[in-house]
């Protein structure tokens, strides 16, 4: 990420709105600079970081646009890999051996009878090195002497400019105290990154679908306008670009502004393409198999249910549950059954899953639980949800029968489809027993 002094000069304030001055990715003169720097970095392969930084300084010359050039160079440096040279002994030990003999000079005198060359030669000999090699590795642990081994992704000039714009966009969040986002898909990835960057959220369903989510940190309610989480917001931002449609409002306190300002971004802002990896469609083979068997036997015209992936969220206060599947009755969209597959998981994950199921208190949730797990039906005794245990894989016939029963019990008998009522079920809110302090890799 860019350092704040590379962001600050590009912040623009209009009234109580903050904007970041992005660059035009198609501007030929900017593309040329991007191309030059890309070329320069490749040219400095296997050379030291200090040499590369010196080259950037030289390239910058008297150019007044140095904030831009340094920004591009920072993006390149961050994406590249610099590694320390290998040394026969840790560099600090080498230095101890050499410096124990100093100070020494080019020519000897009465108090310094040994010369610099002689000291170096002696230490180098003991290590089987030449003087030049010893000199080169003496400070091998300084970043300045790290060598460029991998120049990072192969970017076109406009791709580099786009990435620079992204870094500017996220950099403005360094001064954010809280942010609000609106999204309508890809919840699972979103929650994953919210958890990963240790942010706190509060979500509400929006009219017309999607969710409105407030993000801040644990201490935010107690310390007004804290900027403690600014870097976490900035780190998180690219997760938002994984969504198709999104809006972001950030409440920011830029260094040159007075008081709180609004900083907005949305999916129409070009060049904000996420470099975060979208997770695969299915978390497990079990889920993939279930989906494909459903399509084969019940899909299309073969049944009246439509299967969608992780398209609904159960809001449980400060945590959520994103069920694996949602079955929607194509004849009456109000009739929806959620399905969660509980496969082979770590006991801690399972414990939280069961707590969430209890907390969700959700009658239209069907759990398909692998029988080999350390969990019995008793665990779900008081839960409102329905449970089916399976041995190897869920039996689709049994699942569909249960779903029909559930739908009938919850929504009443199926009638001829009635048009008009498009009201969505909003999931219940309730508190959950999730302990975020003990979270693992499977936060949901």
């Amino acid at each position: 990420m860019l350092t704040s002094e590379l962001i600050r000069p590009r912040l623009r304030i209009q009234g109580s709105t903050l904007r970041v001055e992005m660059v035009n990715e198609q501007d030929p003169s900017l593309q040329r600079i991007a191309q030059d720097l890309l070329y320069l970095l490749h040219h400095y392969r296997s050379q030291s970081q200090a040499a590369w930084e010196e080259a950037v300084r030289a390239y910058e010359g008297t150019n007044v646009d140095y904030v831009f050039i340094r920004g591009l160079a920072k993006v390149l440096t961050d994406a590249a890999t610099f590694v320390p040279l290998t040394t026969p002994l840790p560099p600090a030990i080498l230095r101890e051996q050499v410096f124990a003999r100093g100070p020494v000079f080019g020519t000897p005198d009465m108090f310094h009878p040994v010369t610099r060359e002689e000291v170096l030669q002696e230490v180098a000999n003991a290590l089987g090195l030449s003087i030049e090699e010893l000199d080169e590795i003496l400070f091998a642990d300084r970043h300045a002497s790290y060598r460029l081994t991998d120049a990072g992704p192969v970017w076109t000039p406009s791709e580099l400019l786009a990435r620079y714009n992204l870094e500017l966009a996220r950099g403005a969040l360094y001064w954010a105290s809280r942010i609000t986002i609106e999204v309508s898909n890809n919840y699972k990835d979103l929650w994953k990154f919210i958890k990963l960057f240790k942010l706190m959220f509060w979500a509400e369903p929006k009219q017309g679908g999607g969710y409105r989510i407030d993000l801040d940190g644990p201490i935010s309610p107690f310390v007004s306008s804290t900027l403690r989480y600014g870097r976490q917001f900035a780190a998180f931002l690219p997760a938002l670009f994984l969504c198709e449609q999104w809006h972001m409002h950030a409440y920011v306190y830029p260094p040159q502004g007075r008081g709180e300002m609004l900083y907005r971004l949305d999916h129409t802002t070009s060049s904000l393409h996420s470099h975060f990896k979208r997770s695969g469609e299915f978390d497990s083979q079990l889920e993939a198999d279930f989906a494909s068997e459903f399509e084969q036997k019940m899909g299309g015209k073969r049944g009246h249910w439509r299967l969608t992936r992780e398209s609904e969220v159960l809001l449980l206060g400060d945590t959520v549950m994103v069920p694996d599947f949602v079955l929607v009755d194509t004849k009456d969209e109000n009739r929806r059954i959620l399905i969660e597959l509980v496969g082979f998981w770590h006991p801690n994950y399972l414990r939280r899953k069961v707590e969430k199921v209890h907390a969700a208190n959700c009658a239209h949730l069907l759990l398909l639980v692998y029988k080999g797990l350390n969990v019995t039906e008793e665990a779900f005794q008081d839960a409102a949800s329905q449970v089916i245990f399976f041995q190897h894989k869920p039996v689709l016939k049994e699942v569909m029968e249960t779903i029909e029963e559930m739908a009938e019990r919850i929504y009443g008998p199926r009638t001829k489809p009635k048009r008009g009522s498009k009201r969505r079920r909003t999931p219940k809110h309730s508190r959950s027993g999730d302990d975020p302090a003990a979270d693992d890799q499977n936060p949901l």
Binding site: F99, R228, G317, P347, G433, D435
Partner: protein, 466 residues
Amino acid sequence: MTRRGTLDFAMPMNASVFFQGGTLVLQHTDDIEHVPAPFQFVKSRWRCEAYHYHAVLPWMQEQGIRNAVPRWQRLALELHDTRELHEYQIQALDAWKEARGRGSIVLPTGAGKTLVATHAIRHINSSVVVLVPTTSLVYQWYALLMNVFQTGIGVYYGSEKRVLPLTVTTYHSAGDLIAEYGNAFKLLICDEVHHLPAKTWGEAALMAPAPFRLGLTATYPEEHEQTGERWRLDELIGPIVYTQRLETLVGKQLAEYRTQRVRVDLTREERDAYEALYETYLGFVRERGLQRTHGAGWLRELMRLSAFDPHARRALLARRQLLRLLDSCQGKLAALEALLREHAGERILVFTESNVVAYAIARQYLVPVISHETGVAERKHILDAFQAGHYSVIATSKVLNEGIDVPEAKVAIVLGGGASKREYLQRLGRILRKKEPLQAVLIEVLVRNTIEEGKVQRRQVPRENC
């Protein structure tokens, strides 16, 4: 139905409290009728700032709430320190214990606050985090705790982040440390605690559940410095438990010393380059009358202009090159070499304006270098070895400027005249801290007929104030 495994999923959950990012959070509170302040119902849970831990503990115990907050360890620390506490230090320590290990001790600079702190740590004998204002003080505490307790010491700042039961951090980095590991420390020590009321400085203390707290300072903040948006020490640390005034304690801080100036010339080529850069730089400043229009802030104005005015940009670059030229000109390095030869066997500190020159000197004369990149362990090694006489010279950039004792150094060579008055005094004080009745010497190497000479004249420091 067979019950498999041992997980009791169906058991009703008892209320418990855990630590989350600087807050205490209650869960499974359905059976609790009334949750008192300072807990607030925020985002579907009862929460409060973690520093309330000691205050809410009795209530939680009374309610039988399971306490999952403490992750601190009991330690078996021993003091490997032969220094005896002075009477006033014992009084200070007793007063703090009397106050149930919460509050600030106010002692003048040099009166051994850190020594009192080590005894407080020994008394609690559990994990401790120390907050200090600067990285220099991180090093100082690191070395002190390592020597006193003969155990590994964690540091958490900038480039080094290693958390151990005894960890030293800066106020700047403390927030991140506490958010993650706040409940791993039973005792919170805030050095230079007068900084704490400032908005972002106090957050870490607010976020830490540590029931024991010790503030150290020579200048306790006034009442009006703790109002409005600022934090109150009373609340975050506790009251003042002990105060001792200056006069009675310390004698004269500085030893006798003399200063010496060595003037060197630029070579012909250097002089030509210097004049050209000088003209580009000051020519612009004069032409625009920056000093007239912006007074003391003229340099800042030049920097602002340089982001869009090519002439200003060139002037600023010329200034940078000019300072670099002066810092590493041949005459200075020749003078340095002569001085190093002349003071053979004496303990010498060499101060440079830039990192680049400090490292160049290290390579040239094969002497250790300390910069902001030097990790705590190597830094301690260098200073210890210097003290023991294994190293006689240390090259350093501005790092050694604050708060580090190098009492053995008797010669300081300052290359580069860019030092501000404050910096100059600190460098002086460093080598001159009273150790033995040996006269110390501060040698400043300046380039004749350059801006360096002007700077020195502006900086005439009256001897009696030093």
